[in-house]
Amino acid sequence: MGHPQSAGRFLRDEVRARRHDQSLWWVRQQRDAAARRVPDWEALRERAEAIKAHTASRLGDYLEEFERHATARGARVHWARDGEEHNRIVHGLLAERGARRLVKSKSMLTEECGLNPYLEARGIEVTDTDLGERIVQLDGRHPSHIVMPAIHMTREAIGELFHRTIGTEPGLTDPKALTEAARQHLRQKLLAAEAGLTGVNFAIAETGGLVVVTNEGNADMGTALPPLHIAAMGIEKVIPRFEDLGVFLRLLARSATGQALSTYTSHFHGPRPGGELHIVIVDAGRTGLLGADGFRRALQCIRCGACLNTCPVYRRSGGHSYTWVVPGPIGSVLAPSRDVVAHQTLPFASSLCGSCSDVCPVRIDLHDLLLRWRQEIVSRRVVPFGRRAAMRVASLVLRSTSLYERVGRLVRWGMRVLPRRWVAACSLGWARQREWPVPPRESFRELYRRTNGRP
């Protein structure tokens, strides 16, 4: 099922859809207020963009520099070509140490790789410790948002889910009580964990250090107790210098939630005493983007989610209507590079309003990239023949002024005299909820000619 169908289904629950839209618009407003308080916000965005573009231009060098320095600090670096290899490495690390209970802090990369089902099929208990991610895990689903994984759910639905899965009393809807129940539940999982896995927000080439930002402190707790810390990162997470970090930290939380800084900014420079740190660096299609001239900028993404929050289509269709784990504008740019046929509806799930490009803290021209994907999809003939043919016919008509005038007259005449039902049937869904404009007898040019420009 493509995005239009799933979105239509999401919109059928009007109350929930409205709440979804309003919650995320509120986050967008928080972002605006936070950004406004930073002098030279736009200059900061430009700086971030320049750092990312520079890094991408010599990504291999920076990754190797990062590996050297991380290794010197006592970490072990592993390289994974794709999700499958990443999962195999993680499982291998756990299996070698006999670890059967893994706690994870937020990582969209492991969602992308399908790590949870891979490990669960091999007898390992995986617990997501980010509250939102734990909620969707208990619900057997994927995050619908990259920063707020359970934003698609109402607290009533979460109360029901907790009652069913972690034994809270029925009818609990108070957010505080629900959070407390989750905290107690997660505390047990964290205490019993034999390994902790985190994502990575920034990997610093110059120092070999990792930075993870969370609001719940779960990355710290998940790595402070068990002896094994595995950090999974995509190749695009590396930044050259420690001083670059400040540029991104100033942008990230403000863009994501409107916070000046997330509650926790955790630095991991080497393993903690007596522990092990393994860093898995994953490609999974990213070098393909790096090599594709037009799409390279998509790798600048720092996963703040601002483009989701501002996207009027995302807000009204929910993250699960996208066919890829990363939804919204950035997901719709990334997904087709993985499988253009499976994700062919995503670049069209945008009105190209351009809000995403203006809100993006690293200035990815998202709506231009979506348009670029549309061209790719058409030129690779993924789009059904009918749609391509319709545009070809329209283009042929419009190339000839006289043909255009005759077809225009015919269409207006048809709309006036044919039964409404017929016209509606020809309108590809335009008239399902909307009226057509009332066609005038004469077009502008006909009137202009007849009256010499003075009707």
Partner: protein, 248 residues
């Protein structure tokens, strides 16, 4: 006397002749000689936005042939002008004259504001008007600063509208959210498109608008279609119609 070529978007030509005449009158009233090159058809935007680049390029070439010789081209549409200014280079960038055309094609209000330096539109329009900021004019032509960007605020269309006697420009709570028209998006994503349009209308209604205006008739056509289906009293008028009626 300054001469401009009027580009009338194809759907305006066919469905909204009064909008094109309004634009013509507004330009003439500001002392401009207006020509309407009759060979014009469409800028190619529907094809370009559908990803059909070669079909769009053929129309871009035609547009260049028809309008390339003019020093000023003006259209009552932000998105068609954005097509010429921002997207022709990628389609027919190797043709001589494309750069000239791209920098010399203006949206109507932009032309009044930037080229003619109009600060006051004469006339009277004693109504409460909601300004819909159509996305391509808004973000691709930068007709206004935009709610996302942290820059010195400006709004060319609102400045002109607000200068009309008796008018009250009301502000919806979301100043520049998309109405969901989006060209083929309106039918490809019909459910989301209509939901977006209804939300926009509601926001303008709550702000107390009697009229929704904007620089793009396509967005207004979409909202008008929803309004008429709902039997609502709120009207849509192109910004050229507001200016023309004010000055009549």
């Amino acid at each position: 006397m300054l001469t401009v070529a009027l580009f009338v978007p194809c759907y305006v030509d066919q469905f909204y002749p009064q909008v094109a005449f309004a634009a013509l009158r507004v330009l003439e009233r500001h002392g401009v000689r207006v020509e309407f090159p009759e060979q014009q058809t469409c800028c190619g935007q529907p094809m370009a936005n559908s990803g059909c680049a070669s079909d769009a390029a053929a129309l871009a070439e035609k547009f260049l042939r028809v309008f390339g010789g003019y020093d000023h081209v003006v259209a009552p549409s932000g998105s068609c002008v954005a097509m010429v200014r921002r997207h022709y280079a990628a389609l027919v960038g190797d043709r001589p004259g494309v750069d000239h055309l791209a920098t010399r094609t203006y949206e109507l209000c932009e032309f009044l504001h930037d080229v003619l330096r109009v600060t006051r539109v004469d006339g009277r329009f004693p109504h409460r008007v909601g300004l819909h900021r159509s996305c391509h004019g808004h973000r691709e032509l930068r007709l206004a600063s935009g709610s996302e960007r942290m820059v010195e605020p400006f709004d060319k269309v609102k400045t002109l509208l607000g200068s009309i006697d008796g008018i009250t420009v009301v502000e919806p709570s979301r100043p520049d959210e998309c109405c969901g028209f989006g060209g083929t998006f309106a039918v490809a994503e019909e459910a989301v498109s209509c939901a977006m349009g209804r939300d926009r209308i509601l926001d303008h209604e709550r702000a107390g608008a009697e009229v929704i205006t904007g620089v793009d008739m396509s967005c207004l056509m979409h909202m008008e279609g929803l309004l008429r289906r709902a039997g609502a009293s709120l009207r849509v008028m192109h910004v050229a119609e507001v200016m023309a009626e004010a000055g009549a």
